[in-house]
């Protein structure tokens, strides 16, 4: 040992140190986490810049005060107090959550048969069907919302259709500008986000499970509720989260098809950053909505995984 040590110190002087590239390579080979972070770094950078920084700014703003044109940067909880003092905000958040839950439920009910059809009934060209499902996304979200306005409007497709058939004499007024129209529009807009995860989880189910259930005496409907449905739950849960989270704070759809009764918390937040020009209050509302959603999602995930762990 001693011999080799001394030999190394001797050669140290005359032999140049290993090149920088060589040393960096060695570092990469030795530590897997360095490789991991290097691969992640572009995305990580974007995430930090575009997500963490704005959120940080939002939280900071929520502790400041708007003074007509400039901002008072002294720390205050006044915005949060305002939220709890005015029942309209709490009521609106609750209403938004309720509408969003309803919309999530409707989306899953509509998406599940579609996903089931593609997973089990389509034998060839599944890709074509999956692409067809994304076709609505080839136009903008705004255009699709406007399309619903055209369908449900006073002189819209539904009304003029019903009149020409002779079922009604005057256009129906309850189709548009209410919470139902918002739920309908949102459910359509987010359908693909529900169909795809449910399809994936259905597609993954080994067909021999279904044959085994039938072999053991299940009728097709018993088999669905005892095998197919529980095994597709991960996809349903993912679909639920994917639809619920973005729809709670949506403001475009309620604005365009919701009328006065279909208004949601997103519209209030938007107005604080716009017309009302009270960024700190808007920021505080955003933070509260964010925390509420996070809380609900955590509760949802914990209960569903618990339930599944128990039944397993």
């Amino acid at each position: 040992m001693a011999v080799t040590d001394s030999a190394r110190t001797v050669t140290h002087g005359d032999v140049p140190l290993p090149s920088l590239i060589f040393r960096v390579n060695a570092l990469f080979l030795r530590h897997e986490w360095i490789r991991g972070y290097t691969l992640l770094s572009p995305t990580l950078l974007v995430m930090v810049m575009l997500m963490c920084l704005p959120v940080f700014m939002l939280v900071t703003y929520s502790f400041w005060t708007q003074n007509y044109l400039d901002i008072d940067r002294t720390f205050t909880l006044a915005n949060y107090e305002a939220f709890f003092q005015k029942p309209i905000y709490v009521a609106l958040i609750m209403k938004s959550i309720r509408m969003s839950l309803f919309c999530t439920f409707a989306t899953i009910i509509l998406a599940y048969p579609m996903a089931y059809f593609i997973a089990f009934k389509v034998k060839s060209n599944k890709l074509v069907w999956l692409i067809l499902i994304t076709v609505p996304f080839w136009t903008s979200y705004l255009l699709r919302v406007f399309a619903w306005k055209v369908i449900l409007g006073y002189n819209g497709v539904v009304n003029s259709g019903l009149i020409s058939v002779g079922l009604i004499d005057e256009p129906l007024q309850f189709l548009l500008y209410n919470p139902t129209a918002v739920v309908l529009t949102l459910a359509h807009a987010w359908a693909a986000f529900a169909i795809l995860p449910i399809y994936v989880s259905l597609e993954k189910i080994d067909r021999s499970y279904l044959e085994a259930a039938t072999d053991l005496g299940d009728t097709p409907s018993e088999r669905f509720w005892r095998v197919t449905w529980p095994l597709s739950l991960p996809g349903v849960i993912a679909a639920g989260l994917l639809v619920f989270i973005p729809t709670v704070a949506d403001y475009v759809t309620p604005r365009l098809v919701g009328g006065t009764t279909g208004i949601m918390i997103g519209n209030i937040i938007q107005s604080q950053f716009g017309k009302a020009n009270n960024w700190p209050l808007g920021a505080a509302l955003s933070v509260i909505v964010m925390l509420m959603i996070a809380f609900l999602v955590v509760v949802f995930i914990v209960t569903t995984t618990r339930g599944r762990a128990k039944s397993a």
Binding site: D206, S208, E211, A213, T214, L216, G217, T219, V227
Partner: protein, 365 residues
């Protein structure tokens, strides 16, 4: 009284488009029998099994189970249960609930079902495993749970689709014996699909050898090996040397054949009805030859040749002997009954092969 036609196939065919997966099959399976369907992949054995289970409907013909025609009876109303190739243990249920899965409509109380599940766990030698999840089981354990899940329903027929294929060799051999013992205990008719002839021979009362949708021969393992009816069966079950030849005449019980490489052969055994004259195939199993390194004194069948290759396998040795008039070497197998460290033949050494008259089997060419 056990009946011989507990399961009946009557001119059963299954066509997938232009492919005849099962082609006009007619046979019976007896009550309490361990019956195997043996064949290479694509021979139609699994399709036949799936028709018994009800997952496929016959294109033509009919299937009877215990005298009842099964046409149009859906799988969940058939008195059969199946053990699937990949076991299909429900991943979201524990062992207890997997085994009890099919008992919901049995009309039994929960306590009674629990008792039967425990009984089944004892039967498959996994007592105390009830609370485990499917993912916590090894391959062999899954196989047992799949078996218990099917047997608890006390089916008239248990269908097994290559259930041992995924297990390693040692475990497979152990499971073969266990499965056979279990079948004797419960007395249920087993229909077992496999491509492994050793497996089929170890367990079965009778084996149906299938090829290209047809059943070639149904017989006991011993008869399949010793008295194959057709060349394909002789070739599929074990190793066999096939010699082209022509019948020259008869002397009492024996037929005199002129076979390539062997010269004049006297045979007292024949598979299917051997023709009176004309071309014929002589089949001789490798272990039916006696190999000597000096000319033996015999008046019986004998041929001389040169050693092409020799392989020492421990319990036995394989030799390949080239004879005049035949291109392919003759395979010979010899038991190493005595310890021998270096008596394997030399390359190109001259050897003599002898065999008994009843070892040379005549098959239609």
């Amino acid at each position: 009284m056990a009946r011989d036609d507990y399961i009946s196939m009557r001119n059963t065919s299954k066509h997938f488009g232009s492919v005849k997966a099962v082609d006009d099959v007619t046979f019976d399976i007896g009550e309490g029998e361990f019956f195997s369907l043996l064949g290479a992949s694509g021979c139609g054995k699994t399709t036949l099994l799936r028709m018994l289970a009800g997952f496929e409907q016959p294109t033509l013909g009919n299937i009877f189970i215990d005298g009842q025609p099964q046409a149009g009876v859906p799988p969940h109303h058939r008195p059969v249960n199946m053990v699937f190739q990949n076991y299909a243990i429900f991943p979201h249920l524990n062992v207890n609930r997997n085994i009890a899965y099919g008992m919901r409509k049995s009309g039994l109380s929960k306590a009674e079902i629990d008792r039967r599940v425990d009984e089944m766990l004892d039967l498959i030698k996994l007592p105390g495993y009830g609370a485990r999840g499917a993912h916590q089981l090894s391959g062999g354990q899954r196989q047992r749970v799949a078996l218990a899940r099917a047997l608890i329903k006390q089916p008239k027929v248990l269908l097994l689709d290559e259930p041992l294929g995924a297990l390693d060799k040692k475990l497979r051999e152990q499971m073969q014996l266990e499965l056979r013992a279990l079948q004797r205990d419960v007395g249920i008719t087993f229909v077992f699909v496999t491509h492994d002839q050793e497996e089929a021979m170890t367990m079965s009362d009778r084996i149906a050898v299938m090829s290209l949708g047809k059943v070639l021969q149904i017989d006991s393992p011993a008869r399949l090996y010793e008295v194959p009816q057709v060349k394909e069966v002789a070739d599929f079950i074990g190793t066999v040397n096939l010699f082209e030849g022509a019948i020259k005449g008869r002397e009492g019980d024996s037929t005199i054949v002129d076979a390539e490489g062997l010269g004049t052969v006297r045979s007292t055994a024949s598979g299917a009805e051997a023709p009176e004259a004309g071309p014929i195939t002589v089949a001789i199993r490798p272990e039916k030859f006696q190999l000597t390194f000096s000319e033996p004194e015999t008046s019986g069948n004998m041929v001389t040749g040169t050693m092409q290759a020799a392989a020492y396998l421990g319990d036995r040795s394989h030799y390949y002997v080239t004879v005049d008039g035949r291109e392919a070497p003759i395979a010979v197998a010899a038991q190493n009954a005595e310890r021998q460290l270096s008596v394997l033949g030399q390359h190109h050494e001259r050897v003599w092969l002898t065999w008994n008259d009843d070892s040379a089997l005549l098959l239609t060419a």
